[in-house]
């Protein structure tokens, strides 16, 4: 059942929230030991929440919908680890704004999901608590960094989940797990209580089994929040209204640089072309479009994101929360705590970012990356003068085997090549499953939209979903 159906049934009294929850907890019991989607399953808390909804007269728009939350969003009194030893056991003294909004809407949080440590990775293998496995083939990765949330939805542990994106960490795992994943316009969803990675890029986004559920979830968690000064001072535009409207007459550009680039599997390229053809048959105007500077997105991203991360992660110093490893003085305690608490990928990015910001290199690396970011924004703005939305692959490949890329950081970084440009521009994008590729594994197609273009983006995504071949 979808979240929309569950909420309708619970509100109408056809089913109890508790019954819905028990069904999902049974699915978790049956397969979680194999998949490891969760760092923590909140069965007792979820049962109490479900019972409270059943007893309430005002059940809310998400009444009784089980939701999985990425473990980098703060939950009051409940451990929030970012899959890092440095935060193991830490219990936040407050809820993230998105968590509070889910509670108010009648959602039932079933657990905190696994991620690459501090959301740094594309496979959920960089977790201090072990990898998550892809429900379609447990020898393969679910993608990352929101791999736990994606796997939880794909395995039926929850109909919807929240993930977070800095360079594609919702869309890429959604693609690899055969679910829908959204990266909203920068600033549309409050980040109060989202543990910071790279603040000019980070954004929370929904995952679900279908486009409509993601639209529902985004309507609920999005909108202005006074507690986040980078939050857009506006409400979420209506997404469910008009979702099924025709796409006839819309202009849709297929991004040549992403679709035709080396490393994109033929089946992935074919899926993008087939989705474009299906939209054309539905009356949309489809044409190729060039976004030349997007080629430089991955290089600019792997300077900007580590630079911001090196600054944000300075707060893990063994003083205020989490791990402390003793030393003779504060500096030694800081350095020993950080070496013991952070995993290899996090250290790699802190080092890369600190280097890119250091005297003598700042302008050649970080400064140049920021100027390239401007060029990428200009190229996309030009494309949106011609087209309503753009199409591209989400991930160049289907899910790869666990361990396949762990010894080659750059090969892992290239997983994000089609997703990072949207994080750099601050625009919106969604990944929708479209059939299967190599080994019968799911393939995702990406719909990109200009800032606050979510209504048309969801409408096109829904049209693609309706026309997609059924995954095996």
């Amino acid at each position: 059942m979808t979240a929309v159906e569950i909420a309708a049934d619970v509100r109408a009294g056809r089913r109890s929230a508790r019954d819905v929850l028990e069904q999902h907890l049974a699915a978790i019991d049956a397969r979680e030991s194999e998949i490891h989607a969760f760092n923590l399953v909140l069965a007792d808390e979820a049962r109490a929440a479900a019972d409270a909804i059943d007893a309430s007269d005002d059940k809310g728009p998400l009444a009784g919908v089980p939701i999985a939350i990425k473990d980098n969003m703060c939950t009051r009194g409940i451990p929030t680890t970012c899959s890092s030893r440095i935060l193991e056991g830490w219990k936040p003294p407050y809820d993230a704004t998105v968590v509070q909004r889910l509670h108010e809407a009648g959602g039932v949080i079933v657990g905190k999901t696994n991620l690459d440590e501090f959301a740094m990775g594309s496979s959920t293998e960089n977790s201090a608590f072990g990898p998550t496995r892809n429900p379609h083939d447990p020898t393969r990765v679910p993608g990352g960094s929101s791999g736990g949330s994606s796997a939880a939805v794909a395995a039926g542990f929850a109909p919807v989940a929240l993930g977070s994106e800095t360079g594609g960490s919702v869309r890429q795992p959604a693609s690899l797990c055969g679910v829908v994943g959204v990266k909203p316009t920068y600033g549309l969803v409050s980040r109060y209580g989202l543990v910071a990675f790279a603040s000019s890029l980070d954004q929370i986004g929904p995952l679900g089994t279908d486009v409509r559920d993601c639209a529902l979830l985004l309507e609920i968690v999005g909108g202005h929040d006074v507690l986040d000064s980078t939050s857009i001072p506006a409400a979420v535009p209506p997404l469910l209204d008009g979702l099924d409207d025709s796409v006839a007459g819309l202009g849709i550009g297929v991004i040549e640089e992403m679709t035709d680039r080396d490393g994109v599997e033929p089946a992935v390229r074919d899926a993008v072309r087939a989705a474009a053809a299906a939209l054309e048959a539905a009356g949309a105007h489809v044409a190729p479009v060039s976004v030349p500077s997007s080629e430089y997105g991955i290089s600019a991203y792997y300077l900007i994101a580590p630079a911001e991360a090196s600054s944000n992660l300075a707060r893990y110093d063994g003083v205020r929360y989490g791990l402390r490893v003793d030393g003779d003085d504060v500096a030694a305690m800081n350095a020993r705590t950080r070496d013991a608490g952070f995993g290899d990928e996090v250290k790699r990015r802190i080092m890369l970012g600190t280097y890119a910001l250091s005297a003598g290199y700042y302008d050649a690396y970080y400064g140049q990356a920021q100027r390239v970011r401007t060029l990428i924004i200009r190229d996309f703005e030009r494309a949106y003068q011609q087209f309503d939305v753009l199409l591209a692959p989400t991930s160049p490949t289907v899910a790869f085997e666990i361990g396949a890329k762990t010894n080659d950081p750059w090969a892992m970084y290239l997983c994000d090549v089609c997703t990072v440009p949207v994080n750099l521009t601050g625009h919106a994008a969604i990944s929708v499953p479209y059939g299967t590729g190599d080994f019968g594994l799911p393939v995702g197609v990406q719909v990109l939209a200009p800032p606050l273009g979510e209504p048309v983006m969801f409408r096109v995504a829904r049209a693609i979903e309706e026309r997609a071949p059924r995954a095996g």
Binding site: S299, R320, D329, A335, D339, M351, L375
Partner: protein, 100 residues
């Protein structure tokens, strides 16, 4: 573009980043960072004269809240999450070279 990163630079950056890296970590990071920097140096291929930098995708500036007193996090709860606290404050090892 700058020269390839050296082992001495890795040790310097680790000090700036407050990371007490082990010998094997310094070794592997020197080669990995060199290889990653070779790739990201691609950004220098674009002509960016007269292009302003983008630090942030939103044109929001000077976001202020009303000057009204609001509750803050309870001090006891915050301190309870710290590795060490004393007298309502975070406790840390000595900072300067004074006698303990």
């Amino acid at each position: 573009m700058p020269e390839r990163i050296t082992r001495a630079e890795v040790e310097h950056v680790a000090r700036l980043a407050r990371l007490a890296l082990r010998e094997d970590e310094i070794e592997s990071l020197t080669s990995q960072l060199g290889s990653i920097l070779d790739h990201v140096a691609q950004v220098s291929a674009l002509d960016t004269r007269d292009v302003p930098p983008t630090a942030h995708p939103l044109p929001l500036v000077n976001v202020l809240r009303p000057d009204v007193v609001r509750p803050t996090l309870p001090r006891d709860e915050v301190l309870a999450a710290a590795p060490d606290a004393e007298d309502g404050r975070f406790r840390v090892p000595r900072i300067l070279g004074e006698a303990p």
